[in-house]
């Protein structure tokens, strides 16, 4: 995960499909924004099928992280700066 591995993160869902991960964010997170694949979040460029859902909750960013051999992980990381950028994108929930 690059720099993300050095941050304090929580995995909310592991080894899932991309579709399951997107549904997890849509169902469980109240505030959801959508971005296009390649959107930079922290130090990674998001991989996924458009649109990619990113949740925001209590100062945390919840997003899908794809690993080629392990599928989709939904990761939760605390950060204010990224939320500041996200609220300028399209809110869908």
């Amino acid at each position: 995960m690059g720099c993300i591995e050095l941050m304090e993160y929580e995995i909310l869902l592991a080894d899932s499909t991309y579709k399951e991960g997107r549904e997890f964010i849509r169902r469980n997170i109240k505030t959801v924004y959508e971005v296009e694949p390649g959107y930079k979040l922290f130090d990674v460029y998001l991989i996924g099928i458009s649109p990619i859902f990113i949740g925001v909750e209590d100062g945390y960013v919840i997003f899908p992280y794809i690993k080629p051999c392990h599928g989709t992980f939904i990761v939760k990381i605390k950060d204010g700066e990224e939320i500041g950028r996200l609220i300028k994108t399209k809110r869908v929930g």
């Binding site: 991309y18 694949p37 390649g38 460029y45 991989i47 080629p68 599928g71 989709t72």
Partner: protein
């Protein structure tokens, strides 16, 4: 000669998890075919996927070791528009592969070819919600079904490579 090389179209093979045995052999076969078609061929993948290529092609006959790019580095360079390719072939045999395939049109202008293989390639192909060229073959250990599809597709790639 240097001028001619600069004009070569660039192809990227974006590899998936190397757990499916045919991937490495097919990647080298496709690299060879694209090289013969006049393209400069690069490959991106996990460290293990790239190590398999290096060990299978120790002299770099099919893939120049300098044209092997770690997957995250490649995605970053494409997203930041520091690099792009004319042709991109994405190897898809699992759900993550579908996500990588779907990402490419957002970060690259490359002509896209999905190589869909593994145990249930039709199921994977059915989940692709956008238009792209696809080679689909049930191929796990035996590379021949996929090789035949590549052989059928290469003449069109050669015509495209020779155009413009």
């Amino acid at each position: 000669m240097a001028g001619k090389k600069e004009e070569m179209k660039k192809a990227l093979l974006l590899l998936g998890c190397p757990e499916v045995p045919v991937q490495t052999g097919i990647a080298l076969y496709l690299a060879s075919s694209l090289k013969n078609a006049g393209l400069a061929v690069f490959a991106a993948g996990t460290d293990t996927a790239l190590d398999l290529l290096k060990i299978s092609d120790p002299k770099g006959c099919y893939l120049d070791p300098e044209k092997l790019i770690p997957l995250d580095t490649c995605i970053e360079a494409l997203a930041e528009k520091r690099m792009d390719f004319d042709f991109c072939s994405v190897f898809v045999h699992n759900d993550a592969g579908l996500s990588y395939l779907a990402t490419i049109p957002s970060i690259s202008n490359a002509k896209l070819l999905a190589i869909i293989f593994g145990k249930d390639p039709e199921v994977l192909a059915g989940q692709i919600g956008f238009t792209c060229e696809k080679l689909i073959a049930r191929s796990v250990h035996n590379p021949n079904p996929l090789k035949r599809k590549i052989d059928d597709a290469i003449p069109e790639v050669e015509r495209w490579a020779a155009s413009n």
